[in-house]
């Protein structure tokens, strides 16, 4: 049996985190290919239900990354993200979804190395947690291979 490689969706805010990820690329700091980056204009744009959609689509982990508090390009977006995220994480835990799979991080545009290190650390953590069992992924449904009964 081949070993498990997690799929991690990363919502990166355009101004800080995406630029930070970009910097890690141009600086040739390697980070795992398990991370699939999705650029959003602000971390505050991320609807908590998008995290659920990511899990349902087959992701094993989700990371939302934004500007540091006080440095948001839109002044307050990341404050709202923070509020939502803390509450949502606890709620996911209540429903039996491991909260360690959902990560919020603040990465600025200059933190290329830090981004690479964070993603490496996160991938290791999710790899150890194993594949997500709580949701039957969409593609399995499409192939007719449900059902969780």
């Amino acid at each position: 049996m081949s070993h498990f490689e997690p799929t991690i969706i990363a919502f990166l805010c355009n101004w800080c985190s995406y630029a930070g990820a970009d910097l890690s690329g141009t600086s040739r700091y390697k980070y795992p290919a398990n991370i699939k980056a999705l650029r959003v204009m602000c971390s505050g744009r991320v609807n908590p239900l998008m995290i659920v959609q990511a899990f349902r689509a087959g992701a094993d982990g989700v990371v939302i990354s934004g500007c540091h508090p006080g440095d948001c390009h839109y002044s307050q977006g990341n404050y709202f993200t923070r509020r939502r995220f803390i509450l949502f994480r606890k709620f996911l835990e209540f429903l039996g979804i491991d909260p360690e799979r959902v990560v919020l991080s603040w990465v600025s545009a200059s933190e290329g190395k830090r981004f690479a290190d964070l993603m490496e650390e996160l991938t290791d953590k999710i790899r150890n947690l194993g594949p997500l069992k709580n949701f039957t992924p969409l593609e399995t449904e499409a192939r007719g291979e449900i059902n969780d009964s």
Binding site: F80, K90, W106, I146
Partner: protein, 325 residues
Amino acid sequence: MNLFSLKEAAKQALSQTEVNFVIGYTKGSYGFRVAPFFAQNEAEVEKLFFSPLCDLSLVNYLSLEKNTPLEKFGKSPEQKIGIFVRGCDSRAINQILSEKGIIREELIIIGIPCHGVIDIKKLEARFPGVLDQARAEEEDGKYTICFGDKSFAIKKEDILSDKCKHCAYPTPLIYDLLIDGKVEGKDDRYEDIKPQEEATLGEKEEFWKNEFSRCIRCYACRNACPLCYCENCILERLSPQWVKRSVNPTENVIYHLSRAFHLAGRCAGCGECERVCPVNLPLMLLNRKLEKDVKSLFNFTPGIDSEQKQFLTTYDLKDSEEFIL
């Protein structure tokens, strides 16, 4: 419960020309049932009553009547509605008012300080098949249930609705008229969700998987909830489609997770969702957990003040940074 004051209050509300009807309770057609009733004149007011059997919330009818929340905003009220509210109902109305879902001037709120209502399912389990119209009265921690020619005394906590056991706001927080004296609320420590919170992750997953495998996605919970009044409900949308229409444990989890999270910091704890569920899902567990977290994390309780700002549209510079990398 002073029924005379109740009817007088309804008549007083109806005496105003803009008031077309008063929404209250009337005796149901059989057994322990209680029905909502729209009294349109003084003669119909005689049919109104209140007893511990009045377990349903009437606030949902406001959304249905007024149906177009944001469109009517700013227009002068042409039509007013009278409505009977208990404590939890008043919080639901306060929450809708603070969201500008309804205009205060369009309401005549008749407040009933509530001593708790009976869970009809528990009563029907004790006395199955009762067809005679029943009565219930409360005195000294006991309910006296009468139907046919029989009378039973039952300890209050045996058939009290679960939501009433920890109710901190039994006296309406908003009203135009108040019937009877105020009732003191309980100290809510969220003990009811403790066993669920302390279970392991695997146990939690197993529990909810079992529960949600029974869900038939009838949407009764969404329909009955007074705070689910979005014209374009996220659970019905096809573009984007957040919840697929298939009925399996995965989709059901997403449905309930989404709905509960949309009610985070908005749920008034009226328990309608659990009451109307045809397969008895423990939906209040989800809402209670969110209510507890919102209170402890952000010091916010929904429905206290009709002018309060919502917790998700505000922020505190000192919000928790726990678990943030």
